[in-house]
Amino acid sequence: MLPSRKNFFWSFRNFSIQRMQVNVKGANSSYFGNIREGIKSSWEGLKLSLKHIFEARRSRKPIGVADKEYFGQQTGIVTLKYPYEALPVPDNGRYRLHNEMEDCIVCDKCAEICPVDCIEIEPVKATEEIRKTSDGHSVRLYAAKFDIDMAKCCFCGLCTTVCPTECLTMTKTYDFSEFIMDNLNYHFSDLSPAEAELKKKAYEDFQAAKLAAKNAANAAKANAEAPAPKAEVPRKEVLATETSAETPANPPAENTPPKPVIKRPVMKPVIKKTDPNLPDTQA
């Protein structure tokens, strides 16, 4: 249990003896020159740290880099009492991802481009065009699953650039630490699993119906053509989804607490507006 004790002592001894020579490579290598230099530099050091103690009377104010005062604060305490005061983040801060499901066409481009595969999308085909996005794209796919794992995300922003409808954006929320890692996996799908099953079923039914209709048409081609009752069933389904989507306002996840701040009203047009103004704010 004491294998190294002895060696250890000897090394200590040798150490102290060998290192007993003094490194005097300074400007003053004479004995008194050495002392003088030591006193002088020690005093300089003390003055420096004393200056800092005096300057500690003032604190930095939590003002952003955009502020005119920002580079004026050279002295004083640099740390902020963070949870209580924080540096302002510009509106175009690029931190947590947010997907505006209303505008999402579930094109899967973001998931494709993501270098760390943090976006997981499970599309469900709709039987017909579901809605128009705000910039006029037509939404034809349901997202049975649209998960972004922020624990994996590397904040490269590629997904936002490829997004055709600009529904996937980075927000200025940066403090979203969690005790449980899974909670960093954000679910954006507006369908509950049950509904998703329903949609799938509906689509399969629709396909089956379509197949049947096709078969029937083929048969009718042979006979006659009148596919009037076909549109009845899907329309019913759409209405059903709309009603169910209103009740769970948040992305459906049973064991997650409500997300703190997901600001819905942040619209792309706003961002578009700020873009040209960026040079101004920088100045």
Partner: protein, 366 residues
């Protein structure tokens, strides 16, 4: 017994304040805020830490030498605390008025050494052992300049009794038995002929009575830094090399005791410095003509006011010294072993010897 309780209370209070102050001073020097959460401006932080430490399990490593391991913190603390026995906190409050006062203090430090060695050895951890060895080598070495600096003061004051030294440095000098005929001259020079006995204040402090004592005090201060294992002489507990030195294996209550002892040592030695060189419990404010600042700010021995002001001034001076210790600690990087020894044996000790000679000469001729 009164002194015992007062000093124990003082030590505990001081420790809480000092740890807080240490963190704050370090934070300010490094442009940080330091503890801010518990209490106003984080004032309760140390108390919380202490409570945490007291609650922690008292861990004894399995392969440690149990009894020495358990006893070591107590020995260290007792040694340091025993040192306060001869410290004159006020004109009337002194644990023991032993004639060998200062010498006794130096002896106490030797017991501290054994405690450190015990802790280091019994931890059965090579970092602890190395820390203890370094600590002892350092303390023993720096005992020489400390001792010499103390002797400088003792030679000048002609006594080892700290209370007598305190009385000498102020306006109440005639109150001390045997000093009724003493006179304090400016700079200790009789030939100058300026009688400052009743002026008092900082003019009768030892650093002024014998101006070279300023250098002695600086040397004393540097050496006490090493005695307390304080940065820049903290190679015994260099965190980046040795984890924590001799207290690596300690935790909880015992660790707290060790820290208490370490901070107690700081207080003890800064107080000693204040008593020896900075006038002890005497006020720094002199009587200027009709403006009797000294009489106003320090009461006569024996009165409550005198005791209160005495304690106030001494504690203030000690705290000032501790502040400088902290200031120094957060300014300088750690010394190498060879630099440490160079400083001790080739700079401080010779300088002290010369100064000792000069002190004696000043005493004889002044």
């Amino acid at each position: 017994m009164l002194a015992f309780l007062i000093f124990l209370g003082l030590l505990l209070t001081y420790m809480i304040l000092a740890v807080y102050a240490e963190r704050k001073v370090s934070a300010f020097i490094q442009d940080r805020l330091g503890p801010m959460e518990i209490g106003w401006y984080g004032i309760g932080q140390t108390v919380a830490d202490l409570i945490k430490l007291l609650q922690k399990e008292d861990i004894v490593p399995e392969r440690a030498d149990k009894w020495p391991f358990l006893a070591a913190p107590m020995i260290i603390f007792v040694a340091v605390f025993a040192g306060f026995a001869v410290m004159p906190l006020t004109p009337d409050l002194q644990g023991s008025d032993a004639a060998v006062g200062v010498f006794y203090l130096l002896a106490i430090i030797s017991i501290d050494i054994i405690g450190l060695l015990m802790a280091g050895w019994s931890s059965n951890n090579k970092y602890s052992l190395l820390g203890a060895m370094r600590s002892i080598a350092q303390i023993i070495s720096y005992e020489v300049p400390v001792g010499l600096a103390v002797i400088c003061a003792a030679v000048y004051c002609q006594t080892l009794d700290l209370q007598a030294i305190s009385f000498q440095q102020g306006i109440w000098i005639h109150e001390y038995p045997g000093y009724a005929q003493e006179t304090n001259y400016l700079f200790g020079l009789r030939s100058l002929g300026i009688d400052v006995t009743q002026v008092g204040g900082f003019l009768t402090w030892n650093v002024v009575r014998m101006p070279l004592f300023f250098v002695v005090y600086v040397i004393f201060f540097i050496a006490t830094l090493a005695e307390c294992n304080r940065a820049p002489f903290d190679i015994p507990e260099a965190e980046s090399e040795l984890v924590g030195g001799f207290h690596t294996e300690y935790s909880g209550f015992r660790w707290a005791i060790l820290f208490l002892a370490e901070y107690g040592m700081m207080l003890l030695l800064t107080m000693l410095g204040a008593v020896l060189f900075l006038g002890g419990w005497n006020t720094p404010l002199p009587n200027i003509g009709p403006v009797k600042l000294a009489f106003w700010t320090s009461g006569a021995p024996g009165t409550v006011y005198g005791n209160l002001t005495g304690a106030f001034w001494l504690v203030t001076k000690a705290f000032g010294g501790i502040f400088v210790q902290m200031w120094v600690r957060w300014t300088y990087p750690r010394l190498r072993v060879d630099q440490l020894m160079y400083l001790c044996w080739k700079v401080l000790t010779p300088a002290c010897l010369i100064l000792l000679f000069l002190s004696a000469v000043w005493r004889l001729l002044g």
